[in-house]
């Protein structure tokens, strides 16, 4: 349980709101999409957190986490003329620029926010079609 990462989670969600718009994503979810989710949608979740940093006396100093951002598309949910994986990359890039390099976290300071690496994309099968998960990892350090 991490109180800082919970604040970061809410800050990410709030700052991601411009991604939900016509021609973009239908919704943003944390960890799991809702049962009624309609593609294309975005999911983010904290992954592989780094070591928690402490001050003397074991007071919490900083959390250094990797967050996984995923855009889920399929051939039925992208604008005409777009490949699903192409649209996924476009949305992911837009999401990255929407977040920028800062977050507002009450009581803490985000000292680093930048894309850490791309994560391998995943294809899953549903019926006779593929679902594309396009992803990247973002490093967020909060003091």
């Amino acid at each position: 349980m991490s109180t800082i990462s919970e604040k970061v989670r809410k800050a990410i969600f709030a700052k991601s709101s411009p991604m939900v718009a016509a021609g973009r994503l239908t919704a943003i979810y944390h960890k799991l999409a809702g049962k009624k989710a309609v593609r294309p949608y975005g999911i983010f979740a904290r992954q592989a957190p780094g070591a928690v940093k402490y001050n003397f006396g074991l007071t919490l100093a900083a959390e250094d986490d990797l967050w996984l951002f995923t855009v889920v598309t399929d051939e039925d949910s992208v604008p005409a003329g777009k490949e699903p994986e192409e649209f996924g990359e476009e949305m992911l890039s837009l999401w990255e620029s929407t977040l920028g390099n800062s977050l507002t976290v009450t009581g803490n300071t985000v000292t680093w926010l930048a894309r850490f690496s791309d994560a391998p994309s995943i294809e899953e099968k549903k019926g006779d079609r593929f679902i594309y998960l396009t992803r990247f990892l973002m490093r967020i350090v909060t003091e």
Binding site: R39, V72, E75, E85, E86, D128
Partner: protein, 136 residues
Amino acid sequence: MRAAALFNKIGKTSIPRIGSRIFPDRMTVVKQNYTPGSGGGRTKTAPTNVHTSIPCTYHANSGEQVLIGDKPDRKEEYSVSFPSHTPAGVRINIDPQEHRLVVAARGNEPQKTFRMTAPLKDKAGMMFEATCELEA
């Protein structure tokens, strides 16, 4: 040879006629078309109807909850049965990877789109049974 001729006649003439009377539903076989994308993928283009008003019947086989695309989803497997020939005697050629079966609405039953998930079961050239997933 007599058996072959009999099966051919049953498949081409008798079952399509009987099917059009006893099968409660009518379906359209729709082909989803694609064009190569600019990045090596593919993009959807307008679908085309391959066969229309095919008599058919369907039933559910199984269902399960699944997690696809980080989303709690459902998988409902159905079987759709239909004659191998149209009432006009034209063989219904199906490619499970390209074609979808769209069963028309009937009474309170809404239209259903079935996506085939396995090779077509060919019953001696007289009937086909398609294993499908109901589109949610």
